[in-house]
């Protein structure tokens, strides 16, 4: 009995905070848009019974947004990654003796081999599936590529922003971890301090900095670096700046945590054994901080994928992100069913990185324990 109660707690939690809301959204996504309050049919009523209710639900909205093609694409990307990463490691262990991994001609060869293997795997799997189940091919037909492009563009923007955040965040985390012990609480404070103001206000402030007559342009013009004001606001560049700024602490903190634990004597040993400082960094520091890098990247990538505030405040009309499309479906089209279908697919796409993130955390916990 006691065991049952203990297990029931997290499940009830999951049910109340995830499954029930998810169920409601799923139900709306299977409904049809209508001029009513709320604006969709069928509404559930006890008089007609559950069967009549269920019979009115269909997958029309998913077909409309081209969900099949989107899911297939994401599965293909996941499959490619799932094949390419082990192949990369395998190539190294088998053919290169597991030595120097980073930034060498050998790593380039291994990367090419692993990507080719990944693509081959994807092609073979899809060829087999479409041979046995030809109906799968019809899933790839899309009426309107808006949603497909929005998902792809969100993936692209999230990936680029994550890379940029890593580039900016890693040196900061490294500097923090290498600073004297007495400084660290202050530096940590400086990273966390911006969180004390509203995220919305901070993003809005960037509008003042990046606009045509903004501070950045004024300073650059005054310095004579540029002759004409740069157009940054309302472009993807502004979105990248906004994401890097907003999510930087999420990148710095896990990397800092990993670097702080790093045993300095390992680097000394590497240098004693003939490593230059830079190769000691690439061969010792980077691999040992990898769990922090992975965690930081996921913490940035996952929320950026569905980001709405930053693209709508800083991005232009050409910035296509799924969070914005979702908002437009909901508020401009008043089409809740299609908006719900977009949200469900977004959730499905997010499951892949979330599961990978969990696995990384678990592995780290096991290694630590």
């Amino acid at each position: 009995m006691r065991r049952f109660v203990l297990i029931a707690v997290p499940f009830l939690w999951l049910l109340a905070l995830f499954l029930i809301p998810f169920g409601i959204v799923l139900k709306i996504s299977l409904s049809d848009v209508a001029l009513a309050r709320p604006p969709y049919v069928p509404q559930f009523s006890w008089d007609e019974g559950i069967r009549a209710f269920l019979s009115q639900l269909d997958f029309e909205n998913f077909a409309f947004i081209g969900a099949g093609a989107i899911v297939v694409t994401v599965v293909a990307i996941a499959l490619l990654a799932a094949v390419a990463f082990p192949v990369y490691g395998l190539v190294f262990r088998r053919f290169f003796g597991g030595g120097l991994k980073a930034l060498s001609i050998r790593s380039l060869i291994a990367a090419v081999v692993s990507v080719v293997a990944g693509i081959l795997a994807v092609v073979i799997v899809f060829a087999v599936i479409s041979f046995f189940f030809p109906s799968v091919v019809s899933l790839l037909e899309v009426d309107d590529y808006l949603y497909f492009q929005a998902y792809l563009s969100s993936l692209k923007i999230a990936a680029i922003s994550t890379a940029l955040t890593l580039l900016v965040g890693y040196p900061m985390a490294y500097g923090m971890a290498r600073s004297p012990n007495s400084w660290r609480p202050t530096l940590m404070m400086l990273v966390i301090l911006p969180f004390w103001t509203s995220f919305l206000i901070r993003v809005y402030a960037w509008r003042g900095i990046l606009s045509q007559e903004g501070y950045l342009n004024q300073v650059l013009l005054w310095l004579g670096v540029i002759g004409e004001p740069l157009t940054i606001l309302n472009t993807n560049t502004a979105v990248y700046i906004g994401v890097v700024y907003t999510y930087l602490p999420f990148m710095i903190l896990p990397i800092y945590a990993a670097l702080e634990k790093l045993d300095v004597s390992l680097i000394e040993a590497a240098e004693d054994l003939g490593c230059s400082r830079s190769s000691a960094f690439w061969l010792v520091t980077i691999p040992l901080s990898r769990p922090g890098i992975v965690a930081g990247c996921f913490l940035v990538f996952i929320p950026t994928l569905g980001e709405f505030v930053i693209p709508s405040l800083l991005g232009g009309s050409g910035t296509l992100m799924i969070g914005k499309v979702l908002w437009e479906e909901f508020f401009n089209n008043r089409d809740w069913p299609v908006a719900s279908a977009v949200a469900i697919i977004l959730l499905l796409i997010l499951i892949v990185p979330i599961v990978l993130f969990q696995r990384n955390q678990q592995r780290q916990a096991e290694a630590g324990g």
Partner: protein
């Protein structure tokens, strides 16, 4: 001790009374003389909470979701009609609205098209969708004979290419811009036929590269400051920009013109949501607004025509005498109205609009 308890009870009672006597109004931005809001509170003792929006679509989302918490909202005719069909509003209790007799039958007969019998709404303001220009700049770029009152100015790529230099804003309102484009190419602006609507795409995409922004409220200040030189906008908004520029005395001269080809005429209607927390106070507010002097004060401030006949004697000459606000008979003939799209057609319209705005 007893006295103390009594005082506490009295305070508690007062507090409840205050929170019960509260009216929440959701109106368009820059759409009222703020002094009127104070006057309402002083006269009626009801607390007024006044929020603003700048898109019918946003308002409709809130109305269809229900539970918006507002007592009075101001949708435009076509949106009002859809929301009435969806059951979003409650019929007005005419016995609580003695000032209803002040309303103007000419306008009431037109708004009855959206709200049969005017059972659910009263007219707040009405106007036209036309074109606001910075006369000096446009004439500098296009010459003295620039077509300041023609759709040619904003839908002919040759003109737009030159105007792009000084900035052009379009309304972010597909239900206004697409009918306008259809009118330009000689189609029925109120067409609900997806094939006809699709014809607007080519025309709008041709001028798209020269449009700086699609926004439904920023153009007021942008025009007044001289940041942009042309905006497709609502009559009163452009006239407000004209006055702000005149006040700032910055050498910017703004003019509003209805389209010579024919402008859309619209009606902003005040209505009470079916789930309004305080419908009694909402009626008090509507009655207050329909008072001739109050209505005139609002029009004198926002430069829109109203549907209140009795208010006309209190209007300043600048408003009642300006054909851009109160058009003459001939211009009235030239104005068109539209009807709400069905959900499937609405999807086509919104999709087309997304494509024009973002190119996808």
């Amino acid at each position: 001790m007893k006295l103390h308890t009594l005082t506490l009870t009295a305070i508690a009672a007062l507090a409840t009374a205050a929170s019960a006597d509260e009216v929440r109004v959701y109106n368009w931005s820059d759409y009222i003389d703020e002094e009127l809001l104070q006057k309402f509170e002083d006269e009626t003792g009801i607390d007024l909470i006044y929020d603003v929006f700048d898109s019918n679509e946003l308002l409709e989302t809130k109305m269809l979701a229900g539970g918006s918490g507002y007592d009075v909202v101001v949708p435009t005719g076509t949106f009002l009609q859809r929301q009435i069909m969806a059951g979003a509003f409650q019929p007005l209790d005419m016995s609580k609205l003695p000032n209803i007799d002040n309303m103007w039958d000419v306008i009431e007969s037109r708004t009855a098209q959206y709200d049969p019998g005017n059972e659910y709404s009263i007219n707040y303001m009405w106007g036209t969708t036309g074109i606001g220009v910075n006369v000096g700049k446009v004439q500098e770029l296009l010459g003295e004979d620039a077509p300041l009152s023609s759709m040619e100015l904003i839908l002919n790529p040759e003109n737009m290419e030159k105007l792009a230099e000084c900035g052009v804003h379009f309304l972010d309102a597909p239900t206004e811009m697409i009918p306008m484009t259809l009118k330009y190419i000689g189609e029925d602006p109120d067409s609900h036929d997806p094939e006809v609507i699709a014809k607007a795409e080519e025309v709008l995409l041709a001028v798209r590269p020269y449009i700086q922004k699609f926004h439904s409220s920023e153009y007021i200040n942008a025009l007044a400051n001289g940041d942009i030189c042309v905006a497709v906008g609502w009559s009163g908004d452009v006239l407000q920009a004209r006055d702000r520029a005149a006040e700032a005395d910055n050498g910017v001269e703004i003019a509003y013109n209805a389209f010579a080809e024919g402008s859309q005429m619209w009606f902003d209607q005040m209505a009470i949501p079916v789930d309004a927390p305080n419908p009694d106070a909402a009626h008090v507010f509507l009655n207050f607004i329909m008072d001739p002097e109050n209505m005139a004060a609002a029009s004198n401030y926002v430069y829109y025509a109203n549907g209140n006949k009795a208010s006309q004697e209190f209007l300043v000459e600048d408003v009642i005498g300006d054909p851009a606000i109160y058009p003459d008979e001939a211009t009235l003939e030239n104005l068109y109205t539209t009807t709400p799209y069905e959900p499937k057609v609405q999807r086509v319209v919104t999709r087309l609009w997304t494509k024009i705005k973002s190119g996808v």
